[in-house]
Amino acid sequence: MFAWVRKLTMRGRLEREMRDELEFHVQARAEDLERAGLGAAEARRRARVEFGGVESYKEALRDERRFGLLEDAARDLAYGWRNLRRSPVFTLSAVAAIALGIGVNTALFSVVYGVLFRPLPVRDPGTVRNVHLLTTGEGDRSSYGSRYFVSFAEFQAMRPEARTAELAAVSEAGATARFAPAGLHLQLVSDNLLPMLGARPAAGRFFTKEETSTPGVGSVAVLSYDAWQKYFNGMPVTGATVVLNRTPFTIIGVANPGWYGPLVLKPDLWIPLTMQAMTRAGEPLIANANAAWVQVIARRRPAVTDAEMRAELQVLGQRAVTVHEPRRKAVVTIAPGAFLNYPDVMSGAVPVLAILFLAVSLVLVVACANVANMLLARGFGRSREIAIRLSIGAGKGRLVRQLLTEHLLLGALGGAVGLGISQVVVRLLLTALPAIGGNQLDVSADWRIAGWALAVALVAGVIFGLPSALGMVRGSLTPALQAGPGKHGRMRLQGFLIATQVAVSAVLMINAGLLLRALTTAAHLDPGQAVRNVLIVHVNLRNLQYTPEQAARYLNELRDRSAALPGVSAAALTAFEPLTDSCDARLRPIGENGMPGAPVRVSCNESGPEYFRVMGIALRQGRGFSVVDAAPAAKTVLIDESFARRHFGGNALGRRVRFGDSAADDYEVVGVVATTRPLNFLAGDSPQVYQALKGLRHLEAKLIVSYGGAAGPLRQAIQNSGVALDPDATVNVTTIEQNVTSALGLVRLAAGGVAALGGLALLLACTGVYGVVAFTVARRTREIGVRMALGARPAQVMQLIVGQSLRPVLVGGAIGGVLAALAAQLIRAMLYGVSPVDPLGFAGALAVLAAVAAIAALAPARAALGVDPAVTLRHE
């Protein structure tokens, strides 16, 4: 170690000695030559020429000296770095290609990691765990948010018993308050959640156990620091009363700045879990031991393992469930604390993520093939250097190692730049996505993201470097370097790499083409229902603490007032948002013999009178809903033509369908309407059935209004009517055009994303084509000269060069076409009936590909025409 330090500090002296030693050599040689009869000046010149490139030997010497006692690896690294510096154009373009490939890859990883795996932004996140409880078996259990949540009763039973961990609870809800016209976001918590996760009061205090133990008790609230600044300007606020959802709360404290709790959305206020009822009027989940709505977050105690913690919670979880539902079996699992670390989120995300990762990996593949090609071309220029290194005793293995080090260095540089690119891409992505207001999603690079980028970079480095490293060494061992058989193999390899790049680009481009075709198709699709000139009115009736009866009265009144407004043609109530939302049900058609048939999966909605008029859905048989169908005892249903045809032979009026298990759940078909097509491809194409809007559903029902003329004044008039009916109401009017956009949003996003990646891949592939053609021209200058001297016309020369270079492009395009058709099967659902081998989508994408590739090939090939036969024949 000491010797090494000394060596470095003595570097200046060593440089001097090195120069002296080589200088001595040249002088001694010159003197010998002089003695042999040469003039002094000539002798000196000869001595220098004989010695060769002093500087390059000095470099080699420096390597030997500088790292004399260090490992070979360090020497290889320095050697590689020097080589890369020596050809900056190559290095820059290679690093750029790799950085782009790694950039998009790491960007995707950053988002996925930020949502699913990143440790929570709370104190000591290493011992925070998400607790999942899944129950199976007989009995009625409903879940709100995730199937892995627990009920309030279960949480209360488990918490005091747990020895291995401290259990805390959290849930979220929206709220209405006069001081916040845009609405508030609440987190409902157990008393220990804030202190357990490291929150400190910036003012006042946090909750006590008494305030969060009894349902309905605990009308106190803690403000987030941001909300305190925003709504109260940071004025003293503890002891003040705020009214949330028409319920008075006393503010007892403010959390410290920058602390937002364990969920991805930032809350404005925290309130006790026991106040759940007022966040969901009409459906107090807190009183229902079978309603799973509480998310359990735990702090593992010191000296406890995850296995011990899970084992204890399993016993406690089963016991808590058994109390109220002895037939159900509970399974408890735990996972490191992260925003959405829930099995159902994971299983939902995996297929989508797989496609996304496939797409970004394809770009990386193209980048790797591109750089591999550059390295192959560069290999020609370096064969002499390799030959020298071999002749002065470098082993073959060592040489491969050296080249590999150089490639890994290249990869690491690309990774570092790529990491920077990914940060930019992620930020662009997050701003392009529909605003997820007030989230605390953290996508900045930490060591795991950097590690990911580096790991991908090194793997890429090995992959793109191996062919050229092996090829170079194999080629260099044959003495006749220029005419060796290695050259042919190398040409083939280059062709193969070009074909790969083109094929991958084709897969991405074609799929982007198909998605664009799908978008235009969907825009002109006749969905069989209104896609314009309908307003949708949302009122926060639950937050206003309405009973279902009050809600029905309010909405019916608002409907009648709206229908009387000028320009309005019809108004109706609906439980689900048109075009974007619906419910799913399974029902059995009852046969003419009174026997129920096989269950049919249907898409459902609940709506009031006039719904079909507002939505422009034609009534084919029977009648639409009227006031009588809203009566609790009325059991009527409308079905669409596809259902009527398939299960009732087209004659459905008066027939029955069974929603549940017994004849008590039978509904009579009173009308048949035209079949509609869902715009949202996720909805599938199940038949549609309609029930009458009743009771509880009024709390979440919307008013829809069809109109002619201008929307603006009408919106304002409806809003005014809504507020006139209740001054506390927040009346939000949207348009059905917005729903059309959001129904197609995922497809638009996919088309944009795939097109962007495809463009990137195409750009890389074209630089590859350009490079290979330019290289071919340079290498065959002499041949071209001979041909032209013998009378070949420019067109023939062009044909020769371009024809040969474009062969791998054609092969790649053909293979890419086949692969694209296979890949299109994956996104078939998004294609809106456009065939996965749609000729327009294919032809368009391939035409773009061919045009760009031809330009990339022709531009450098034109250089061949500038070849002067006289000059080239004198060449060498």
Partner: protein
């Protein structure tokens, strides 16, 4: 003049230095001399090899004065270098013997 076989430069240097301390140019001359002028070494390639051997502890180097009174770096063999030279010489002899036997074989002997 014969081309130098890969990997043989090191052992030639060790041999040259084993006959007495030498500077780099002297090593070049001596290799020419002891090989009867048959082996020629690319001049610049000599120095990386010298430094490598020094780092490996097979050679010692010291600055001294040359025959015409100039400062020059002189190389001597270390004990490890002497041992390595012995091993390399032995294995070289064996492979030469094997090669000659193989190449001088005639039809009758097979």
């Amino acid at each position: 003049m014969a081309e130098l076989l890969p990997g043989t430069l090191d052992v030639l240097i060790l041999k040259a230095v084993s006959l007495g301390a030498l500077h780099g140019y002297g090593i070049l001359l001596r290799i020419g001399q002891i090989s009867g002028g048959a082996l020629e070494i690319e001049q610049g390639a000599l120095y990386p090899a010298l430094y490598r051997l020094e780092v490996q502890g097979l050679l010692d180097a010291e600055w001294g004065t040359s025959e015409n009174n100039r400062r020059a770096k002189f190389y001597t063999l270390t004990a490890a270098g002497r041992k390595r030279l012995k091993q390399e010489t032995e294995s070289w002899r064996q492979s030469v013997a094997a090669m000659s036997a193989a190449l001088s074989a005639t039809a009758g002997e097979v």
